[in-house]
């Protein structure tokens, strides 16, 4: 019975470790290690918005004009937006990026390394990071003007710090 209990606890511990993912208050991991070879902008001392998107995700597409507006309004004040595409097919990623022509950085997580690490609960999901590199807000899904208002309020708050 003791052996059985030990085995049960070990399995539970292993499974709980597998579900660990970045939360609010944790330090943002270095994206360069999760996205080797990707051309990432400098983020030191900046407020960073990391968004997970895919070409097959309709709300992700709807969120791009919002991110473009946020980029135009706040990039000069210290906001950096990085869109991480998770399409399986690189051609679909490239075609979607070329069609949308967004002013912020888009990178492709071809191996799903970053996506597996962040384990977003839905698509799209975004992580808002303060100037010190700490995750301050996590957004799941995109609900139009409501979500844009929340982004604006939170970005202004983080830029002011």
């Amino acid at each position: 019975m003791k052996t059985l209990t030990t085995a049960f606890v070990t399995v539970l511990a292993t499974l709980s470790m597998a579900s660990a993912k970045p939360e609010v208050g944790q330090t943002m991991p270095k994206l360069a290690t999760l996205l080797p070879g990707a051309a990432l902008p400098a983020t030191t001392g900046k407020v960073v918005l990391v968004d997970f998107w895919a070409s097959w995700c309709a709300p992700c597409k709807a969120s791009f004009p919002c991110f473009s507006r946020l980029h135009q309004k706040y990039s000069g004040k210290g906001l950096v937006i990085i869109g991480i595409g998770v399409d399986d097919d690189p051609a679909k990623h490239q075609a979607f990026a070329a069609k949308e022509k967004v002013p912020f950085t888009l990178v492709h997580d071809a191996q799903h390394k970053a996506a597996a690490f962040f384990s977003p609960s839905t698509m799209p999901s975004s992580y808002l990071v303060d100037r010190k590199g700490v995750i301050r807000y996590i957004h799941t899904g995109f609900k139009g003007a409501k979500t844009e208002e929340e982004y604006t309020k939170e970005i202004e708050e983080l830029l002011a710090k």
Binding site: L4, F8, V11, A54, W56, C57, P59, C60, A115, M123
Partner: protein, 75 residues
């Protein structure tokens, strides 16, 4: 009767049931194939309207089909 085997089975059953969030399942970022137009509920508006009518009139159930983003479960 020794209860250990039954207890072990019950524990393992609970652990590996579909309720466990740690089991391998399709992650949100892996649902590209599920978002295909063939899996969309409203690919044929007429068929969708007739199906909804059938559910409403025969089974007294209506709604609950308005998930955005096709079959990818987005948002």
């Amino acid at each position: 009767m020794n209860p250990s085997p039954f207890l072990a089975l019950a524990l393992l059953g609970g652990l590996f049931s579909s309720c466990s969030p740690a089991l391998v399942r399709v992650q949100p970022y892996e649902r590209g194939n599920l978002a295909g137009p063939l899996l969309s509920q409203d690919r044929d508006p007429l068929q969708k309207a007739m199906t909804e009518h059938a559910y409403f009139s025969r089974e007294a159930s209506f709604g609950g089909g308005g998930v955005g983003g096709g079959g990818c479960g987005c948002n």
